[in-house]
Amino acid sequence: MSLLQNLKNAVRSRSIHVAYVNVGSCNGCDIEILACLSPRYDIEQYGIYVHNNPREADVLLITGAFSPQWEDKLKPLWDKIPHPKVAVAIGNCPISGCVFNRPETLVDPPVSKHIPIAAEIPGCPPRPTEIISTILSLAPIIFKDYEETKK
């Protein structure tokens, strides 16, 4: 393993940029993501930085049950994120649609139909600790030795 790869691993493990996108959620999960930023949970101590720009993001957090307006918007947004990248579904809505997935509603869950989802956090909403621990356990798997394993 090259020295450059070691350096990249070290930097990436302490610098995870997160963008979140709400594809039609009730805002409950968004509030839980914002609670991660608060002093009680403080995600910046783990090197996670909420940077709401897909071009600079590593991790995309998706909340919501996928409303029709997002049909042509989520895929381009996902393509804008540079590699290595990973998408995490937060809450029940991107997984199953939960209480919104009823007859004669317009939502189109699961989100994994539209973009590849690496991890799902169940809960309505999930606890901030669950969100943080998921990102922290997922990031090493995806980002470690990315250039080596890509070949």
Binding site: P39, R40, D42, N92, S96, C98, V99, C124, I132
Partner: protein, 200 residues
């Protein structure tokens, strides 16, 4: 002048420098009173379907028989952790957080009544609902796949190409029939009252 020297002296203390650079918040633990996904206790499930009746999320809880024992199963990704199944269960089969404690303190019981509505224009008499109904199957195990039955005690049965409701009061409100109807012709409406302080 003295205050500047005092500040410099204060901030050069090795202990202060060490805590400044290695500060971490305390490890986050889930408190014991957190209402997490319901877990099974060792009580026996009696297959009364009260948990399925009260559950607000589709497909979140089903009561299934595994190795001859009835037990509720929670689907993560559907369950919203509202805890209503724990409150509704008369046998305390499920537990989560402090719900069982306050349920006992307040002598909480749920009283429910149900109305089965069948849209006769949409109903094609396939009998899926009568066959799927867990109460029907218990009353008349010989219920045929077309939904017809010789028993008058079943909740509903197919009669002359139409589904007829015979005993609405036996319905437990599990809404299995709703999920199995291909035409969305059958609806179960529930009226639930929460009662505190024991039986009235």
């Amino acid at each position: 002048m003295f205050s500047i020297i005092y500040y410099i002296r204060e901030f050069l203390r090795p202990k202060w420098i060490a805590t400044f650079f290695t500060a971490k918040t305390a490890p986050l633990t889930t408190p014991p009173y957190f209402r997490d996904f319901p877990v099974l206790t060792d009580k026996e499930c009696t297959h009364c379907l009260a948990c399925m009746m009260i559950c607000p999320a589709p497909d979140a809880i089903v009561v299934v028989q595994r190795e001859g024992v009835w037990r509720p199963e929670i689907t993560k990704g559907h369950c919203i952790r509202c805890g209503l199944c724990i409150e509704a269960c008369p046998e305390d089969v499920l537990a989560s957080g402090r719900i069982l404690v306050y349920k006992k303190e307040e002598k909480l019981t749920l009283k429910a009544s149900f109305q089965i509505e069948i849209d006769q224009e949409k109903c094609m008499g396939c009998g899926n609902c009568s066959v799927a109904c867990p109460v029907n199957r218990e009353i008349d195990p010989a219920l045929r796949s077309s939904g017809t039955s010789t028993s008058d005690e079943v909740i509903m049965r197919v009669d002359a190409g139409q589904n007829k409701v015979l005993h609405e009061e036996k319905c437990t409100g599990c809404k299995t029939c709703e999920e199995n109807c291909s035409n969305k012709a059958i609806r179960v409406a529930r009226v639930v009252e929460a009662l505190q302080g024991g039986e009235e």
